[in-house]
Structures are given as structure tokens and as C-alpha cells.
């Protein structure tokens, strides 16, 4: 059974819609800027969505702007993705989202006041629960058949896409919104800083002198449908989810294995799942966070799978920052834009290759490329590795 993608919606530091995002990608316009974080007593390079909570709420017709920013970002992207679709009694419809910290943006505001013995609103904590973030979106779109949230750190929304595809194949759903959301929070910025992997400068994925990541925020959603569902909705097909696989690295809590076992299994598994051969992969949208460990491991994985014939690859995180749980879906959407416009978006800020593997990513916007099958992978904390293959539908 084929799993088709018939909708996309996105919001990130480089754009508040698919069109804005595409233009930013084409013009190599990064969303990363130095931003002051007074509570943290310093500034960080981050990529924020340009809309405030009240602007997001207004643009989504959401009456209550005092909900988690993650929900608001999710609403924005999901509404764009859903488009003109309607709820229908004969089309089983679900929503699956990934998130890493749910409503932490509100919880940390509460907790700061609470610790200082200042008045704090306990109702703010009602948004903390990760599952509740997507319930706001499900409510708004009237989706009631299936609601799920996956939390596997950076691979969350990739896993959401995979799970949605599996549910359709199992006949449990006909149509499903899949994606992920994560708002920036002081909690996560401080977390990565404490791990000493937050770059004080702009990130340089796959570079010899890479020195850590920069965070971003955003939300990305895709609409997956079966052929039978499309026969009822009449939706236009954008691309196909042709393969997927998830594996666990099982090496260390935060570091990936030097032999890249988890990533290698995921990449090989996805190619096999798609009934493709390694030479069928035309381009890889990498995880490429810019940390010493990730980029080396990922390079080793590519060498394990593709040997000397590594396809063109690039990390787009120098555009959007690392959007954590949303990254898998955001980058899957970039793959769809690549496929349908025959363009590869570059790995910005690259100067010198990693000496251990000597791989060079694509460093400028490259047009008129024949792309049929694109691989995209996400490698999360705890060793969670997911690879997806997005394919062109002619």
C-alpha cells in the first residue's frame, strides 16, 4: 500500500508558511540571530518564529493566547497543512505529533515565580503535559478518531511520520496529520549549554571546526493519506512516504556510537523497507546538528551504508537551528520542496570537511537536479535513530 503526502504546513525561524520557507531556503536566508535571554544573563544564537503568541493566536483564530507556545506553533502549521480538508464519517482521521518538552515554555515561567515565592498561576501548569499540546490542535480541527504524541527527543516527528504511515497500512486510519512542535524554552537552551554543546557562534554542520548546535523553534505537519482516502478527498498528491525505519543505538545516553550502529541500521532499514537499492538515493537531508559527536557519527553511518558512493547530502539546520522534536517533520517538508522543485538546499557555513571521513556536503543552492528518492534522518538523545525516504510521485 502506498502512503501519499497531500498536505504540508510549516512555521520556523525562516518563515511562517510553506511559501515563505521555500523563498528563504532558495535565497540562503538563515533564521539564526543573536538573541538576548535576560533570565539567563547572556545571549545565544537561536532561530525564533517571528510571530508573538498573540499574533499566532490571532492568525489561527484561537481565542486563548495564554496556552503553550508549542500549541500555537502547532496550530499555525497544522492549519496550513489541513487546508480545505473536512472531517468525514467515512474517512478515519488522526493526528500524531512529536514534542520534546511540551508546554515547558509556560511551566518555566510558573516555576521561576514559584521558586522566588512570588504569586504564580497553577493553571499555567495545565499545559506542561506533552500530550495536551496537540489536543488543542485536534480540538481546533475537530479530529477525534486518533490522537497521539511521541516523545523521543530529536527523532520525535520522524517517528510520528513513520507511525502515521504504519497506522494507514494497518487499516486503522485513512488520513493522518503527522508532524512535530517545539517552542524555544530556557530549559532546553540551558540544558544544551550544560552539556557544553551549545555553540556561541553560528553552527557549522559537518565542518572540521564545528563546535556545537544552535537551537530553533517551529512546527511542521504533513498530511498522509491512503489511495482510497484520496479517492474521496480529491487531494493533490505532493510526494510519497516510501520507506522508514527506527533503531536504537544502545551505546550511551547522550553520545552516539563510534561505529554508528543505530544510524546505520536505520538508514539500511529504510532503504530496504522502500524496496530500493542504495544507488537509488539521490540526496540526503542530514540530521547534522553541528556537534562534534553527531556529525562524525552520521558521516560514519553514510560511509557504512553507501561506501564510496555517498549521495549529495546537506544539513539545513544552519537555516532553522535545531528545532528538536519538530526537526524531522520540518526537514521532511524541505525534502518535498526539493523533490518538487528539483533543488538541493545547502549546508550553510561549511568551510573544511571532517578529517576522519573527508565528506563534503552540498554548500550552495543547487538547481535542476534530478531527484526521485530522498533520505532524511534524525538521531535523538537516548540513541533513537529514525530514517525516512520521501519519493517523488510522477
Amino acid at each position: 500500500m502506498k502512503i501519499y503526502i497531500t498536505g504540508t504546513g510549516i512555521v520556523s525561524g525562516i518563515g511562517n508558511s510553506i511559501n515563505e520557507t521555500y523563498n528563504a531556503l532558495l535565497t540562503e536566508k538563515t533564521g539564526l540571530t543573536q538573541k538576548e535571554y535576560p533570565n539567563l544573563n547572556r545571549s545565544f544564537y537561536t532561530a525564533s518564529v517571528s510571530l508573538s503568541n498573540s499574533q499566532l493566536a490571532k492568525s489561527c483564530n484561537c481565542k486563548n493566547e495564554k496556552i503553550s507556545r508549542s500549541s500555537l506553533l502547532g496550530l499555525k502549521a497544522a492549519i496550513e497543512c489541513w487546508g480545505e480538508n473536512q472531517i468525514h464519517p467515512n474517512i478515519k482521521t488522526g493526528i500524531i505529533s512529536g514534542t520534546s518538552v511540551g508546554g515547558m515554555d509556560r511551566s518555566e515561567i510558573f516555576y521561576r515565580s514559584h521558586l522566588a515565592n512570588e504569586p504564580a498561576n497553577f493553571n499555567d501548569l495545565m499545559f506542561h503535559d506533552s500530550g495536551s499540546v496537540i489536543e488543542k490542535v485536534a480540538d481546533h480541527l475537530n479530529i477525534t478518531d486518533y490522537i497521539n504524541t511521541i516523545s523521543t527527543a530529536c527523532s520525535s516527528s520522524s517517528n510520528a511520520i513513520m507511525h502515521g504511515a504504519r497506522l494507514i497500512k494497518a487499516g486503522k486510519l485513512d488520513r493522518v496529520l503527522v508532524g512535530g512542535v517545539d517552542a524555544l524554552s530556557e530549559f532546553t537552551i540551558s540544558g544544551f549549554k550544560s552539556l557544553m554543546i551549545y555553540n556561541d557562534e553560528l553552527i557549522t554542520p559537518f565542518d572540521k571546526d564545528r563546535n556545537g548546535l544552535n537551537l530553533g523553534e517551529g512546527a511542521g505537519f504533513l498530511l498522509l493519506e491512503s489511495e482510497a482516502s484520496i479517492a474521496k478527498t480529491g487531494n493533490k498528491i505532493l510526494a510519497e512516504v516510501s520507506g522508514y525505519h527506527n533503531s536504537s543505538d544502545a551505546h550511551h545516553q547522550t553520545a552516539t556510537s563510534p561505529t554508528a550502529i543505530g544510524a546505520t541500521l536505520a538508514l539500511n532499514g529504510a532503504i530496504k523497507n522502500a524496496n530500493l537499492k542504495i544507488e537509488d538515493i539521490d540526496y540526503i537531508n542530514s540530521h547534522g546538528t553541528g556537534t562534534g559527536n553527531n556529525d562524525l557519527t552520521e558521516s560514519v553511518a553514510y560511509t557504512n551504508v553507501f561506501k564510496e558512493n555517498i549521495p549529495p547530502f546537506s544539513s539545513t539546520k544552519a537555516y532553522t537551528g535545531h528545532t528538536l522534536a519538530a526537526s524531522g517533520a520540518i526537514e521532511a517538508i524541505f525534502c518535498i520542496l526539493s523533490l518538487n522543485n528539483n533543488v538541493i538546499f545547502p549546508n550553510l557555513n561549511h568551510k573544511n570537511s571532517i578529517p576522519e571521513t573527508n565528506l563534503t556536503p552540498v554548500t550552495t543552492v543547487t538547481k535542476d537536479v534530478n531527484l526521485t528518492h530522498i533520505l532524511t534522518n534524525a538521531l535523538g538523545f537516548g540513541g533513537n535513530c529514525t530514517a525516512l525516504i520521501i519519493s517523488k510521485v510522477k
Partner: protein, 84 residues
């Protein structure tokens, strides 16, 4: 400032939650990292960097230096004495 090695061991046991160990279990020159040693890993290395700053006001800004500095209690104590 001279570092009290026993005190340092207790601080490490406390901060890294080494539940099974007491100060007498850690020899001054025992390897802290790797399976042959006490068995600390990369997360512990970060915790030790925090410990240096918290208890001794010493900053280790380059985590790469950590390998040498944190080799054993002795090397840690020597580093603190040299830099405080």
C-alpha cells in the same frame, strides 16, 4: 591552596552519586575514567567541570583538557592547586 584529597573524593562521590563507593575505595592515583578505572564517562566529565567551579572556583573552559585533568584524584588536585 592545598586540596584535601579526601574532601575531594567525598565531593565527587556526592555530586556524581557514586552510591557504592566511599572515599577509601578511591586511591589517589586510581584511573577515574574507563572500565578499568572507577568507570566514569563523558557525562561525569561535565559534572566534574561543574564541581571544579562550584567548590574550588576553578574554570575548565576547554572540555578537551579534561582528559588529562581528570585522569585521577591526584591530577585533579594538582590542577586545582595550580589554578586557584
Amino acid at each position: 591552596m592545598l586540596v584535601n584529597r579526601e574532601e575531594l573524593k567525598k565531593q565527587i562521590i556526592e555530586e556524581l552519586n557514586l552510591e557504592e563507593l566511599t572515599a577509601t575505595d578511591i586511591a589517589d592515583d586510581a584511573l577515574l575514567f574507563g572500565d578499568d578505572g572507577i568507570g566514569l564517562d563523558s557525562i561525569d566529565a561535565l559534572e566534574l567541570i561543574v564541581l571544579l567551579e562550584k567548590f574550588y572556583g576553578v574554570e575548565l573552559t576547554n572540555p578537551e583538557e579534561g582528559k588529562e585533568v581528570f585522569e585521577s584524584i591526584s591530577t585533579m588536585a594538582n590542577y586545582i592547586e595550580k589554578n586557584s
